[in-house]
Amino acid sequence: MILVLVEHRDGQPDIPSLQTLSFARTLAAQTDDSIEAVAFGPDSLADILRDYGVSRYHSITDDQLMAYACEAWAVSLKQLTDLCSPTVLLAPGSIKGNEVMAYVGALSCLSVVTNVCHANAGNQWRITRSSWGGGLFEKVLIDQDLALLTLATNTVEASESAADICDTVSFTPALEKKHFRAQVKSVESSVDEGMSLKTAPIVIGGGRGVGSSEGFGVLEELGEILKAAVGGSRVTTNNGWRAHKHQIGLTGNHISPKLYIACGISGAIQHMAGCKSSENILVINTDENAPMLSHADYGVIGDLHEVVPAIIEELKNS
């Protein structure tokens, strides 16, 4: 049996969790296993879980567990796996998923493979995981009775394939006070200001070639005209030219606009990790050998401080 941890918001599973259920079905097809799910959430999740192929839902409804507490969640999962003996425990490779699974691994004295892209079942599991910010695959073998895996986000599409029935069983873990020593006390919802890097159809990124905080002025101006969000590579946030919240890259925002205009950015793999989901990439760079160009659809060889004003002029005239 494959057991999947499902995260939800107000009783609606999140996208990474639905992707994880879809991935679980590809594993289940290899091993002829059934899929069960566990969530810290209401019984009503069962209907949608059934649509995604889950035949049994372990519902944990304990009030004190509704605010996330990593250890308490992990102890609950450990107790549930002891009770129902899955061969795989699978979670989304989210912040919480990776954190909880690390604890489950520690509690079980087992290793966890995070950010999995592909898995071949067998006596020994052959796993491909995402490494180096998605720049490399890493192949590993697991030799454990229970495989603990998290799924790399956005490697599998969430797709429905309904199970005949999904019965809901309630599970009540035995917890102690110390399991709640790191628990969410409150959540402040974030306020979106201006065009968001994550949702804007056009994103303009500046790199080392921008040269200074003031150098971003010309990118801002183009951004105004195109209604684009403006961000920067790590060089620009590290030098204080741009706030960190505007960073595009492995350790910043991951963007997926219709067009990404990368200005004066060489294209380190850490930057590519944040922008490779862009539908189209236009590079403006003085260096025709910049690695960024080998990931781009369009390129202009030239200094952004000359090219961008010319584009602004052209847009005003057309």
């Binding site: 918001r9 996330y68 912040i95 919480k96 990776n98 690390a102 604890y103 691994g105 520690a106 509690l107 087992l110 290793s111 966890v112 995070t114 491909t128 180096w132 910010g133 998605g134 720049g135 695959f137 890493e138 590993v140 073998l141 030799d143 020593r181 628990q183 006390k185 409150s186 959540v187 402040e188 159809p201 195109l226 790590r234 204080g240 960190h244 960073q247 492995l250 350790t251 910043g252 219709k258 380190a268 793999i269 850490q270 590519m272 189209n280 236009l282 025709e288 960024m292 990931h295 659809d297 369009y298 390129g299 202009v300 060889i301 030239g302 090219v307 010319a310 584009i311 052209e314 057309s318």
Partner: protein, 257 residues
Amino acid sequence: MEMNILVCIKQIPDVGGKIKLSDDGRDIDSRNLGSTISPHEECAVEEAIQLVKKEGGSATVLTLGIADSENQLRESLARGMNKGVLLHTENSNWNASQIAHAITDTIKKMETDNGSFDLILFGGESADRGNAQVGVLVAHALDRPSVNGINGLEIAGNIALVKRDSDEGTENYELDLPAVLSVKDGMNLPRFPSLKGTVMAKKKPIQFIEVEPDDTGIGFLKFEHTPEQSKQAVILGRGPEAAANVVQVLKKLELVR
């Protein structure tokens, strides 16, 4: 409150735009490459330096890696950390559990001799394998609270007030010290080492300890390149003359009328 802080960092090759693998695929070909640490870890180092400056105490930087990792320790010392620990191994393929075991053993010995660390900091995830596991594993082994990937930290007496961004918004935590936290890039603006700091760093103490990985249920096989996504970019022109072609592309993509 005087704080005794430990920060754990990891040396990685500074690969730039393309990763080259060794012939057997088990290592990054790092010849001709410089080395660095993850941005998250630079912020962890900066946070420790700032906290010790404010509260007093001592900040220690630890790494597990090849002898050359001493360079990354020295750089952290140049930024303002007080002393270093190098868990030396020439084996580059440790997994998260193995790293956590070795670090935990070392911390236990250090704490027996010098008293408990109030705070143990990690980077949110390493820049190479990116498992985001070691901090949690060490916290569990030391029986301390932890939060992974934090964006804000304040110390109020014996309590760490922690903020972490999630999809729902910013989560607030209150953890009793001692605690284990892993830090996200952006929590602060890491300083660059000063010339004076670099000179002073050469005299700061580094303790060397030999370590070997223990057995675990996971075996590393090799790295592979992801399917080649390299594209041949259409060059729209050189310099400002390319502007008209750029606007044509914007029109073709229906982004401007």
